[in-house]
């Protein structure tokens, strides 16, 4: 046997690595699931050409005026048919010719209907001879990085790092405790810290595969930008993974059954799924709870990942997020080591 084979830390890490790779379900959750999710979201939120809004009008003259606007698709109909079409959602707005003017019938709580109202009014007024007081022109911007998919990919990455670290550690530790394997391990001369460290190291090895697979897919399929330095992105991924590994260790440090540890995991992760801005910006939550939201490790992780990928923000400008992640690594790890139940 060579030197490496005799190193217990190497052996422990390799064992963890092998056990994960030999678990088909784990492969699905770690590698396939995030890609499926990205595909799903990519399809749902793909960028479509600006919508053409369906509207109706009661006279031929009004219909022609409306049809002149490229944003509107106008059809002529009598008032009864129009009201019915409005009620069933086939048109967003009905322009009714009244003596001395035009009445717009629409639902003002529907944003599309309000848009239709603005476009229709502009078209009818223009047709009637209104001229713009100020000359304007449109410069259209379809920038990569401002699409929803660009926003959601770093969120998914953060969420995936959290999930795989927490589940990966939590379940295997509780399983080892249930099967008395932990007890057998501490009955040997194995240094205890190495057992826990092996989890973190094998996690980092998995991380490389996991992150590269996911981000390559996002890049190739959706052209998601990487504006910041890649090594800094790697630093954030490692920090995020360490923080959640430590948290997973803490959650699993006393639990004796799978049920108990699953419950604890969900309790810890659920608030972050909702609050940390995976699918929409965390800033949408009220100011009162913002300090709490910002202190969550997933918020810090996703902020940092978005900052790096979308804005190209430098490491130094995200010191706050780094500090939060480091704290979430150090404190749970130390506490977990203290209270860990080996049998």
């Amino acid at each position: 046997m060579n030197k490496l084979e005799l190193s217990s830390l190497y052996q422990l890490t390799m064992v963890r690595f092998r056990l994960v790779l030999r678990e088909p379900e784990a492969i699905f959750w770690i590698f396939i699931f995030p890609i499926l999710l990205a595909i799903g979201l990519g399809i749902a939120f793909r960028n479509r050409p600006a919508d053409v809004l369906p509207v109706g009008a009661t006279t031929q003259q009004l219909t022609a005026a409306l049809a002149a606007d490229k944003g509107l698709n106008a059809a002529e109909m009598d008032e009864v048919t129009g009201v019915h079409a409005l009620a069933t959602g086939r048109i967003l707005l009905l322009a009714v010719a009244r003596p001395g003017g035009v009445e717009y019938r629409y639902d003002d709580t529907n944003p599309d209907a309000r848009n239709a109202r603005l476009l229709a009014d502009r078209a009818i007024q223009t047709a009637a001879g209104r001229r713009d007081a100020v000359a304007t022109q449109n410069g259209l911007v379809h920038e990569v990085g401002s699409r929803y998919i660009d926003f959601v990919v770093p969120g998914l990455l953060g969420m995936n790092l959290m999930g795989s670290a927490m589940w990966g550690l939590g379940f295997s530790i509780v399983e080892g405790r249930q099967k008395k394997l932990l007890k057998r391990m501490v009955a040997s001369p194995m240094p205890k810290w190495q057992y826990l460290m092996a989890f973190l190291l094998s996690r980092l090895a998995m991380l490389v595969i996991e992150v590269v697979v996911f981000l390559s897919f996002a890049r190739i399929a959706f052209g998601v930008p990487f504006r910041g330095p890649l090594w800094q992105l790697a630093v954030f991924c490692v920090l995020t993974s360490l923080a959640f590994s430590a948290l997973g260790l803490l959650v699993a440090s006393r639990a004796k059954t799978m049920e108990a540890v699953s419950g604890l995991m969900n309790l810890v992760m659920l608030p972050m799924w909702i609050l940390s801005g995976v699918f929409f910006s965390a800033s949408r939550f009220p100011n009162v709870i913002q300090p709490f939201v910002q202190a969550l490790p997933l918020t810090a992780a996703i902020d940092a990942l978005r900052g790096n990928m979308l804005q190209g923000t430098e490491l130094a400008q995200m010191a706050a997020q780094m500090a939060i992640l480091l704290a979430w690594f150090a404190v749970p790890f130390v506490v977990a080591l203290k209270i860990f139940r080996w049998r």
Partner: protein, 353 residues
Amino acid sequence: MVDSISSMEKLASTTASRGGPPLRIRGLKKAFADVQAVDGLDLEVFPGECFGLLGPNGAGKTTTIEICEGLTEPDEGVVELLGLRWETGAKELRQRIGIQLQETQFPDKLTVEEALRLFRSFYRQGISVEESIRTAQLEEKRKARIGGLSGGQKQRLAMATALVGDPELLFLDEPTTGLDPQARRHLWDLVDGLKRAGRTIILTTHYMDEAERLCDRVAIMDHGKVIALGTPQQLIASIGGEDIVEFAVCAAKEKTTAGPSTRPPYGGLAQDDNQECVPTTVNVEQLIEIDGVQSHRVDAGLHQLSVSELHMAVPRIFAALERQGLHLSEFRTHSATLEDVFVRLTGRNLRDE
């Protein structure tokens, strides 16, 4: 208590050299909630012997062995292994002892070789992985996943993980519990081999045949205490007779009805189809007075006599029962075993627990 501990410590420190006995326990106590699992235990194990802790489930064997293995903290008492204590020499001790625990489940998806390579890496020195596989006779299963091993093979793997560090002292906690008879014999052969190699082994078991077969000395435990200690032969001799006679009797009685003849449940010696067998009592004094009969007890209608010089005693027992007008419905003899020792000492059967 304080005095006795400090004097014991003095005693211990005089011999607490590297060459101290493999295991020395003084005044060991451990309670869990309201159960006194170990209640004042003294033991000493000599180099090169196979020492057995025998007792029913719940006697405190596992608690005792886990305290010795440094996995459980005792409430009171002194434990010394190889002249070292857990409080001060844990690191060193872990390197020098080998442990097989009850019911350890190694990861199913790991192979035998991988598991042993892992355990080997924890020890500064030891035997090679190859050698441990050979010792445990798992050569054919080297590349097999642990999940696919039989119970006996898993147990041999557990034994191999205890051996890779080439331990001076080996702990085996109920190594054959739950194994089929063939796998048990296989494991016994393995332990035999380790004994021949001169290893000191401490094992717990609740099978007396296992203790008799494997152990040089046995401590019989009950309710957290050692109730007997010695070689299996000494212990068996201590109950006074080398053989056990077991019999059941009934009083002969003329049949009152002319129904179809019923055979008694057992092929008794003095049975007559015209007689009915009814349970009855035996005059025990007359039996005890017989030369060679050492003691008597009844267990579920079965009389047990502890007997020396079986060939002389049996005809006299027959004669005595005949005189009492009793008929035998069952009669057998066997050499006394550790089970009989336990029964004699506690009035209970080991396997009842």
